[in-house]
Symmetry: C2
């Protein structure tokens, strides 16, 4: 199963309440037999037929576009068949990415329509190999990069989308590495052509790409890193290598950069889009490179916010060549999700990154690990920018006692949902009012909202983590 | 005198018919004395006062925007004063650039309003040094890069704008090198980040930048160079390193490239602008870089062609970030003329280029050398794309007999001017008609024009060269 085949496979899956021993599921239907070709794969011959019939696994499924609750845990049946060149991976840990949040709201066109299993990266162990696979074997520990379909216990992917996990790297680190580090690497060293003594602006410096970019900048001599993050994260990002931490919530980052670097910057990584792209362009030095790789400004609230989307479109940066020529500037766009045809390029980047890992020069930072059942809370924490480092999901089953806790929380969530609905409606009104205000002030409604919210949330996360231990 | 001071200096100059011994000029006015500061420079003390008064030199002056005849040879009086950090260079050879052609038509905003001396590069010998100049001395052979003001026998420039000519490099090569090679170098290795096995499209591969870019591409392992030029130049550019020569006049270069490189190209250097920039963008591979560095398509005819300009503006490439992101593409603009504040960057590039020259890896190719009196013919040859390599001007006085020949030609030119006027008018009409035609066909009117013209022109050039020898 390549990522593209995932939706078809889900049609075989039975949507049911998640159980710890789903093999006991009484309503088991006979699994549809795979094609003759698939049945002939080594995977099929090494497994006994009865096991194939009873083979089940848990998978997160995006059931429709919308809020955090649209990603549901389901149990699927039937062992996925392997085509030539593919491997079956028993997934241990999955990475969360900003594109997953966009995808849930229907803002990311690289994810097929729901129902579909999201997930662009994971780590795990090879459990079966298809024909023509020569460089992977059963038992290999691998990290996986795919367009989607990796947030499940079992994933079938082309062997070329897997990378061997080096000695000493945990499954958590391995799941945190591919998307963020390849993204940061290609932006800085391919488009950015980063060289000694240059200056770089890293937005969201405490996020996954931000931390990866900072570490990669530090592999080049005398690079100055400007990093934006809220004040509470400054200690962490400074320790991580940021030279000048800027609190974008209380200060104008453009002014702060100009104070230190009046001529501007050599490289700006822009995950925000909208009016921030304009600011970035004006902050470039001659021969400077602006690399835009997202539109985080489009995400406001847990459901698609049409005003935020429209505003982002309205402010979308568009550039004439004459301006580029007169400024001696470069504008680049990057998104790993659109680069899946370029596995050679990606593999080269990955090999360099793994060498840097082995030399101790880069190391993924994990913010927190969540059970599959908690994916909604994990997504919320990420979207509200309360993480420092990578958000990851583990496929480890949740202990029974923890589940009871979750059930209680679920009840609370129902209440909260109603509350949120109200707030979302309020926000839409605010959004309309805000529309005519200065861009500078756009962070404020979010902040107000957070004052009421995240404490509860944070407490819950703390509990969750304690219980995990 | 930095380039910026040139116009002021020209106010001191007396416009007069050019003579071989202009010191005998009878109408000599007393030179205006320079400021006290300038008079105190070492240059002033090393020269005797009488020489200062009689100091004259020939200079090309753009007297107004328009055709080839707008650049006139004048004699200037009064020795230019040196400020701290400046040197006075006795100019031997000057380089012609496309920007000079644009400037003559009033299409290049880095040249001050006429009257002004054009010229962005030259080679010569240091004749005097100002205060605080420590790294240049009288007698040094140098090449010079300046925003303008170098098409004259004597130029005063900041010492930082001069580069020592290495042993074995002729003044001709030295005048041909700075603009084309620094432009090609920064485009390919800074914005382009050229690496082994990549593919590059070089338009106008027989032009100055084209030849420099091709040579620089060949310094990187296994780079494939696609070069466009008219068929008669294919042998020359192939010998110069172009892997696939494409005759853009008879073939669609996009189709030709796709035949060989179906996925597209890694780097495209675009001096054309307009609709060719759109084509280039679509020809990029993922992670490809489009570097646009001119708008040669704006030049049609010897005077500003409003239709060509409007068309170029109308077709001007404008790009949204979302398209860049989804394509994983980069669009860069480059023009050395707007980079004059970045002498450190330029000096680094120049040092690398000179190292490559010493290693025999790059070598400027001279198309032809012209006397200052022949600048109009030289510009015409360049604009009509009849050159292979660099067009240069020498400040060597023209032999008397040759001058007589020139005088005869002048008479012919008068006739030709009338003829051209007619043609220009005709062209304007053609242009209007052409406006609605397909872009593909836009080269045709030029070709037709050439059928009648360049033979005579070529014969004249041949004569001129023979006479020079």
């Amino acid at each position: 199963m390549s990522g593209e085949d995932a939706p078809a496979q889900q049609q075989n899956a039975v949507d049911q309440k998640q159980e710890t021993k789903p093999a006991e599921e009484p309503k088991a239907e006979p699994p549809k037999t795979e094609s003759a070709e698939a049945a002939a794969t080594p995977a099929a011959t090494t497994e006994k037929a009865p096991e194939e019939e009873t083979f089940t696994y848990r998978a997160l499924v995006l059931t429709g576009y919308g809020g955090y609750d649209k990603v549901k845990l389901q149990v699927k049946k039937g062992k996925p068949a392997l085509k030539a060149g593919e491997v079956l991976v028993r997934v241990k840990v999955c990475g969360l990415n900003f594109a997953d949040l966009m995808a849930r709201q229907g803002l990311y066109d690289r994810l097929p329509s729901p129902p579909v299993t999201p997930g662009m990266e994971c780590s795990g162990v090879v459990e079966a190999v298809g024909e023509e696979v020569t460089d992977r074997k059963v038992g290999d520990k691998v990290m996986v990069l795919n367009r989607f379909g990796l947030w499940q216990e079992v994933a079938v992917v082309p062997a070329s989308h897997t990378f061997l996990i080096p000695d000493g790297m945990s499954f958590e680190e391995a799941a945190a590495l591919p998307v963020n580090y390849i993204t940061a690497y290609l932006m800085l060293f391919d488009f950015g052509n980063l060289r000694p003594n240059q200056s770089v602006l890293v937005h969201a410096a405490a996020g996954g790409v931000g931390i990866a970019a900072t570490q990669l900048c530090k592999t080049v001599k005398d690079v100055t890193v400007f990093g934006t993050a809220s004040a509470s994260k400054h200690e962490a990002i400074s320790q991580g290598g940021v030279t000048h931490a800027i609190d974008y919530r209380t200060k104008d980052y453009v002014e702060e950069v100009r104070k230190i670097s009046p001529k501007g910057l050599d490289i700006i990584l822009d995950p925000l889009g909208g009016s921030d792209t304009h600011k970035a362009y004006n902050l470039l030095k001659p021969m400077g490179k602006l690399i835009t790789y997202g539109a985080a400004n489009m995400l406001a609230g847990q459901r698609k916010n049409l005003i935020a989307v429209a505003k982002n479109w309205y402010h979308q940066f568009s550039i004439h060549t004459l301006s580029l020529i007169q400024g001696n500037k470069s504008v680049c766009g990057f998104h790993l999700g659109y680069l899946d045809g370029e596995m050679e390029l990606i593999t080269q980047a990955m090999n360099t990154i793994l060498d840097l890992y082995k030399q101790g020069k880069v190391k993924p930072r994990i913010d927190s690990t969540w059970h599959l059942e908690q994916v909604g809370d994990a997504m919320r924490k990420m979207q509200e920018r309360n993480n420092i480092g990578k958000m990851i999901l583990t496929t480890e089953p949740m202990p029974e006692e923890e589940k009871k806790e979750e059930a209680k929380k679920e009840d609370k969530k129902e209440d909260k949902k109603k509350e949120e609905k109200k707030k979302d409606d309020k926000k839409k009104d605010d959004g309309k009012k805000e529309e005519k205000k200065d861009d500078k002030k756009k962070e404020e409604p979010k902040k107000e909202e957070k004052k009421e919210e995240p404490k509860k949330e944070e407490e819950k996360n703390e509990e969750a983590k304690k219980e995990e231990k």
